[in-house]
């Protein structure tokens, strides 16, 4: 296509030149690529089609590439449907993966699937106390529990993320955003059992 040359630069990157693209063909590189991809806006599509009607070279290339796009999409679809996983193999993989997750923890650490919310709170409190003091840690946790679970209720796996968010906010309110970020990352890192 005139005005387009492809050069290989050091490291394998391809660099293109569109010296004639805008001026001679009347549309941009972005429009051309989107047209070939089938994602172009209708108004811009009309602009490209208008050019193609009068430029045989571009029309030929566009026609070929549109055909190839269709073929590639069809073949891709076929491959996706062909590579199904039998249920037996799926269950085997799932069991093995869960087993690997459970056995991957270093000594002294509970299973990633095994944290209760109460245990998670203990861990977070242990993390917070050296920085903000036991009293501040207790006060922020109590406030976060109240906001997340309501009066008389408790934090569970289902509202854990909300609790961590509220605790992070309270921690940041007193000790700064860095501390809030620490609490948030540590809290989300704990996989809490649902329910």
């Amino acid at each position: 296509m005139e005005g387009v040359s492809l050069e290989k630069e050091a490291g394998g990157a391809i660099r293109k030149e569109f010296s004639l693209m805008n001026s001679e063909h009347g549309f941009s590189e972005r429009q051309w690529l989107e047209f070939l991809d089938g994602t172009i806006e209708p108004a811009e599509q009309a602009q490209v089609l208008e050019h193609l009607a009068g430029c045989a070279d571009c029309a030929t290339l566009a026609s070929e590439l549109v055909v190839w796009r269709t073929r590639l999409l069809e073949e891709g679809q076929g491959l996706r449907e062909a590579f199904s996983v039998p249920e037996e193999a799926f269950q085997s993989m799932l069991s093995s993966s869960i087993e690997r997750i459970r056995s991957a923890e270093p000594a002294g650490v509970r299973s990633s699937f095994g944290w209760t919310a109460a245990e998670g709170i203990i861990v977070l409190r242990f993390l917070m106390e050296p920085i903000c003091g036991p009293g501040t840690a207790r006060a922020t946790i109590e406030l976060a529990v109240q906001r997340s679970a309501g009066e008389g209720s408790r934090v569970t796996g289902s509202n854990w993320r909300l609790f961590v968010g509220n605790l992070s906010d309270a921690a940041a309110w007193i000790c700064g955003s860095a501390f809030g970020r620490l609490v948030y990352r540590a809290g989300l890192g704990l996989a809490i059992e649902e329910g």
């Binding site: 923890e105 270093p106 000594a107 002294g108 650490v109 509970r110 203990i122 861990v123 242990f126 993390l127 106390e129 050296p130 920085i131 903000c132 003091g133 036991p134 009293g135 501040t136 006060a139 922020t140 109590e142 406030l143 309270a170 940041a172 309110w173 007193i174 000790c175 700064g176 955003s177 860095a178 501390f179 970020r181 620490l182 990352r185 540590a186 890192g189 704990l190």
Partner: protein, 305 residues
């Protein structure tokens, strides 16, 4: 940040010690030979050293403020404290100039007396900042519980005010030619008592906290506020040389307590940032470390918290 990275708590305590010794020497010489050149040099040095303490603290206060979210009360608090420290720098530099230029001999009741303006502004900003700190803690339910003994402390602090006011003729700028300065001078004991009252609340908060660098920071701040009030009272007590010396010792050392308070609070941000970065890099390893340490602590019930 490079100038702050060279300072540790030990070095700040060392600076406090130097200021206390220099202040003691200054006080002793003030009693023995008030107009001597050595006294002037010591006074100049102490003003510059104090200005440095506040100047070192000011940018850290700003950084601490920036660690808080927009529109948070603590952000406002630390900005007010930073502004107070900045004004204190101006005040001490001005007084250094006054000493160096000899204005304290020739223009004491005019130009030099204008120092009351930065003194009062700094105290107002500091009080406002401390009230904002208290307000932040109350939002999580801390700083709301007091003891009966607190009433006694409040009474003692408030008792300082009339005691100091009764000695107002001894105040440095009482003879200023500017009426506004004379009024500000009279108001300064109350402006010193106000943050001292807030310091009582902060002291209760540190007890509720239980420990940690944040509590240490507040304790240094409480000590800074109480010591300044004490220094003012001792300094105005007439005819008691020991009080004069003691007041100078306490007064000049107090600024470094402020620096220590800021330093310990900044350590909170540094420690939290470092830990947060480590958690983002490898949360599993960090959580494993925490839970392992927790397990060890659980196995040793007698271990100290």
């Amino acid at each position: 940040m490079s100038v702050h990275s060279h300072f540790t708590a030990a070095r700040l305590w060392g600076a406090l010690g130097i200021a206390a010794i220099a202040g003691t020497a200054y006080g002793a010489l003030l009693v023995a030979s008030p107009g001597s050149l050595t006294v002037r040099w010591l006074q100049l040095s102490l003003h510059l050293l104090t200005a440095f303490a506040y100047a070192w603290s000011t940018p850290l206060c700003v950084k601490i403020a920036n660690d808080y979210r927009e529109r948070s009360t603590m952000r406002l608090a630390w900005r007010l404290i930073a502004a107070s420290a900045a004004i204190a720098v101006i005040r001490h530099l001005f007084e250094s100039l006054a000493v160096a230029a000899g204005w304290i001999d020739t223009r004491l009741t005019t130009l030099v007396s204008l120092r009351q303006i930065p003194i009062v502004v700094s105290l107002i900003l500091l009080t406002a900042g401390l009230v904002a700190v208290w307000s932040s803690f109350t939002s999580i339910g801390m700083g709301l519980r007091f003891r009966r003994a607190d009433a006694l402390f409040i009474a003692i602090i408030l008792a300082f005010v009339p005691s100091i006011l009764s000695l107002r003729d001894e105040m440095f700028d009482r003879q200023s030619v500017y009426p506004i300065i004379r009024h500000l001078q009279v108001a300064s004991p109350m402006l010193l008592a106000a943050p001292a009252l807030v310091s009582l609340v902060l002291h209760r908060i540190t007890q509720e906290m239980g420990g940690g660098p944040l509590a240490t920071s507040l304790r240094c701040l409480v000590a800074f506020l109480v010591m300044r009030l004490l220094a003012l009272f001792l300094g105005l007590s007439p005819g008691i040389p020991v009080f004069t010396v003691a007041s100078r010792t306490v007064w000049w050392a107090a600024a470094w307590l402020f620096a220590l308070a800021v330093f310990h609070r900044w350590q909170v941000t540094l420690a939290a940032s470092e830990l947060a970065d480590r958690y983002e890099a490898d949360p599993d390893a960090e959580l494993a470390g925490v839970t392992h340490a927790l397990a060890l602590r659980s196995a040793q019930p007698a271990a100290k918290n």
